[in-house]
Amino acid sequence: MIEHLPILIPLTLLMGALLTPLAGALRRSFAYPAALVSILAACGLSFLGLHQVLVRGTMRYHLGGWVPPIGIEYVLDPLASFMTVVILTVGALVFVHSRDVVQNELPEKMVPFFSVSLLLLTGFCGIVLTGDLFNLYVFLEISSLAAYALIAVGEKPSPVAAFRYLLVGTIGASFFLLGLGFLYMITGSLNIADVADILPSVVSEPPVVVGLVLIVTGLAIKMALFPMHGWLPDAYTYAPSAGSALIAPIGTKIGAYVLIRILFYLFDPNYSRLQLPLTSIVIWLSIAGILFGSIMAMAQKELKRMLAYSSVAQIGYIGLGIGLANPLGLVGAVLHTLNHAFMKGGLFLVVGNLRTRLGHSTIPLFDQTLRKAMPWTMASYSLMALSMVGIPPTAGFFSKWYLVLAAIEDSNWTAVGMILLSSLLTAVYFFRVLERVYVRNSSSTGESGEGMNPRETMPSDVESMEVNASMLVPTLVIGGGLVVLGLLNTVIVTEVLMRVIPPGL
Amino acid sequence: MIHWGLEVVLLVLLLSTAIIALKVKDLLAAVVTLGVFSFLSALVFVAMGAVDVGFTEAVVGAGVTTVLFVIALYHTTRRSND
């Protein structure tokens, strides 16, 4: 059965997506376990896949026994297996977390929600695993459609956000498809490995260049690279908590993943870097995005919106790593994909916790009672915030570390400065929340600092409002996991990411 | 070298329907024009040798999508400012 892993992972999710509504039709309470089982199974399979790839090397799977370039191929290589593990681990944690959240926010739509979520993950895994460009497009659209649907069931303005995302996403996907058309015109193949073989001989043909530019533009839209990020803040803000916890950590990273595939695997890395100024454009856009996202995040009053803008900035980091186009940059980008997936996922889980208990996540309304009421949630939030800022033993530091190293190697001092500066900006907008939670006295007892009895300011009668275990455990797992990931990052880098670097880089 | 004959004529027609569909202020008229557009594009597909794409477009684009468009309009509004 091992050799079927590349197809089994998306297939498990697809079957889950299809069986969940059937189970739900049978009895509503069956739906959630069905969804959970399938994602846990897929998650287990993805870890098995990673293990197999590390032991035996890349696995190629030919659909229906048709050998590429005629048939469709699924490839489980180090990068792909790493990405599936990231996607499905975050997905599984969010699924565990979201039972109560969904019950609370979308009681009517529980069954479709989980079904569509599984479809979303099917799409993501399909994108990661497929070795066929058109197949990739199809999965890109499957995941996007699922994402539109998930976003649209959120707050009141969510359909508008989803509609905009739909329009922009369709433009992006169509650009991607158009680019594929140009490549296909010249190479006559859609298999990534096959096209990569053919490309060097035809690389100077205009259609190839046009195709590459179109593809990169399309992907930039999908990954919300500045200035194509317009759809993102609204979409993430208005989506239901569970939905944004699922889409925000992974959605844009998938675009980045495809960009890595295209620039470094499909094309020769040196071509992407030297012949066309594409990578330097990506670098500058990323830098602008980091700055813009950070500054906008500082101005937000709503926690979710702040996180959304922070995503714009963080995508800049990944884009920067890709754009620098050296091994360290790639390692940094892929590692940041992992770290940011965990951090953002965790942060949105915290938002879910807050919304479940408080009914809002508006920063100016936070005060000290929150710390008493939800100590564990806030503790995880603190860890995640530290990781976002990039304080050393946490995971967030290390991806920045590699990125800074890569930027220095490239002598791109603007990028170095921007990474460092944005750490500070990130600190500003995360500590703003922490300060409210840990320091700010609840508004009534007032500001009169001196002379008041300190004991009165501490609302000792605040009853605990901590969320229940199914929500708390994933939050804590991610919070603690960030430290573990940080300490173990060498293992990840040497064992997995070093094998990710394509030969030409 | 490819010599286009019929296709070019059809494409020009297609382009004009597309522009009309975007220009007309009455959304129902626009949608019906879009149906014509889809049907013409089905013809283009057939002319280019893609028979199956052609009749899929005829069924889906000109048929189902137009019906869905009309229903959507029925439920919302026909009026448009641009």
Binding site: L420, L424, E435, P454, G486, V493 | -
Partner: protein, 498 residues
């Protein structure tokens, strides 16, 4: 060359107070038990560090690599003489601070004492980590940890003033941390290694002048914020909003000392004397330090708030240490190192005194202290010892370090530095003696009804004052700090012309 051996003692020395944190948090309702954990941890930590001393003196260096945190770079701890030196001072003074804090916190019935003691323990862990770091990345990790653990202490009072002080503190220190990250990455890019090495990690690397200067400025900004070198010092007086034991910790034990310790590491173990001299970096550092000494002393003269005056005094004295490093002569380096220890004991005494006064009579301004010496003779006696020590009067230990610093200036032929030392000695006297004068020789009936502060506070401050005198008489007493510092100075400067 020093002999390396693997030992987990440095790790335990770092971890012990961290391990105490959960216990402190868990026993938040039982005060005595909670304080018991703090005391145990502080004593245990001091004992562990002390056990490393003989090996450090015998040039046997304990080291342990916990795990790789980046390919080729481990989270490694190494108890080299410099590390042991700093760890001894910090852990030793933590013992005093612990006792004193208990008295202070209870005396004022402060809120959130659990958080206070827990943060304090974390702070000390971070300080030990800084002391024992074997490479820049480990140093950086603990440095950031120290920043964050100090933040709750700075904002402890939670008044708007304290909160804004906390913000300022975070802004300065986090920016510094970020610059340090940049500097670290650049060093790694240039040298391919991050291990601290006596004589300079960059010693064997051929550097373009721009790179060397740029790197040095980055490093200087990185560690200079905590070391309060002049343009970067302004967070320190503001942070006086914190409770007094915290100020003591900030100023005497952990935070600023971590900064100057960082300067020592950077000068002696990253750049090394050869590189420093080759690019004139020592002059840059020396000029900055000299300016800081003079300006800070002048600013201290103006301050009426006792703690703020002490804060500016700290700013000045930290730069003595930096100046000692910048001189790059054996005596100067030794003097700088000694000043870490001597300033720590003296300044902690002074802060303890300020805190005791505040707890007892709730006065913070110098102009209100007329005649307090009669009410609190022990406290003010200790204060006097600390003050004259900082002014450089024998037999208090401040004299010893200043003596070596002065010798260092002569060794390197730097007359300007000598002049600065002399002037600042006078200025020191200028801002301390009025306090003593007011306390003992001005008559006021204001404090008649007050007696001494509680024993838990008076005993530690008297003890540190006595220590200051003892170290002044016998610099090599107990901890053999003198031997340690000379051996460090030799290992760093052994390979240079001077």
């Amino acid at each position: 060359m020093a002999e390396l051996y693997t030992s987990y003692i440095p790790f335990f020395a770092v971890a012990i107070s961290l391990l105490a944190v959960p216990f402190i948090l868990l026993s938040s309702r039982k005060r005595n038990l909670r304080e018991f954990w703090t005391i145990i941890a502080s004593l245990g930590k001091f004992g562990l560090v002390l056990s490393l001393l003989p090996d450090a003196l015998a040039h046997r260096v304990a080291q342990v690599e916990l795990l790789q945190i980046s390919p080729g770079i481990g989270l490694a701890l190494r108890a080299d003489p410099l590390g042991v030196f700093f760890a001894l001072i910090a852990s030793g003074l933590w013992v005093f601070t612990s006792f004193y804090s208990i008295g202070y916190m209870r005396g004022l019935a402060e809120h959130k004492q659990t958080r206070y003691f827990a943060s304090f323990a974390v702070c000390l862990s971070a300080t030990m980590g800084i002391a024992f770091s074997a490479n820049i990345l480990t140093f950086l990790t603990f440095y950031e940890m120290l920043t964050l653990a100090t933040y709750p202490l700075v904002i402890h009072k939670e008044t708007p003033e304290a909160i804004s002080a906390g913000r300022k503190y975070l802004l300065y220190t986090l920016s510094a941390g970020v610059l340090l990250i940049g500097a670290t990455a650049w060093t790694y890019n240039v040298a391919g290694s991050l291990d601290f090495r006596a004589g300079g990690l960059l010693n064997d690397v051929s550097l373009p002048a721009g790179t060397a200067t740029g790197l040095f400025i980055l490093f200087l900004c990185g560690v200079g914020v905590k070391a309060a070198i002049m343009p970067l010092h302004s967070w320190l007086p503001t942070a006086m909003a914190a409770p007094t034991p915290v100020s003591a910790l900030l100023h005497a034990v952990a935070v600023v000392k971590a900064g100057v310790f960082g300067v020592m590491r950077v000068v002696g173990f990253v750049f090394g004397p050869n590189v420093m001299i080759a690019f004139g970096l020592n002059d840059l550092l020396g000029i900055l330090a000299g300016l800081t000494i003079v300006v800070a002393s002048l600013l201290a003269l103006r301050e009426d708030n006792l703690k703020r005056r002490l804060a500016y005094s700290t700013v000045g004295h930290l730069s003595y240490i930096v100046l000692g490093a910048a001189l790059l002569s054996p005596s100067g380096f030794t003097g700088g190192l000694m000043h870490i220890a001597t300033h720590a004991t003296m300044k902690i005494t002074l802060f303890f005194c300020a805190g005791a006064i505040y707890v007892n009579v709730h006065k913070e301004n110098i102009s209100e202290l007329d005649g307090i010496g009669k009410a609190m003779p022990w406290t003010m006696g200790a204060f006097t010892v600390g003050a004259i020590g900082l002014a450089g009067v024998p037999p208090v230990n401040g004299f010893v370090s200043k003596w070596f610093l002065g010798a260092g200036t002569l060794e390197s032929g730097n007359v300007g530095a000598l002049l600065i030392l002399l002037v600042s000695g006078l200025l020191n006297a200028g801002y301390f003696f009025p306090i003593i004068h007011k306390a003992f020789f001005k008559n006021s009936t204001r404090f008649e009804k007050y007696g001494e502060a509680s024993k838990l506070m008076v005993l530690p401050l008297v003890a540190t004052a006595i220590l200051s005198v003892l170290f002044g008489l016998w610099p090599n007493l107990f901890l053999r700090l003198y031997d340690l510092s000379t051996s460090i100075a030799m290992s760093v400067l052994g390979g240079t012309a001077r």
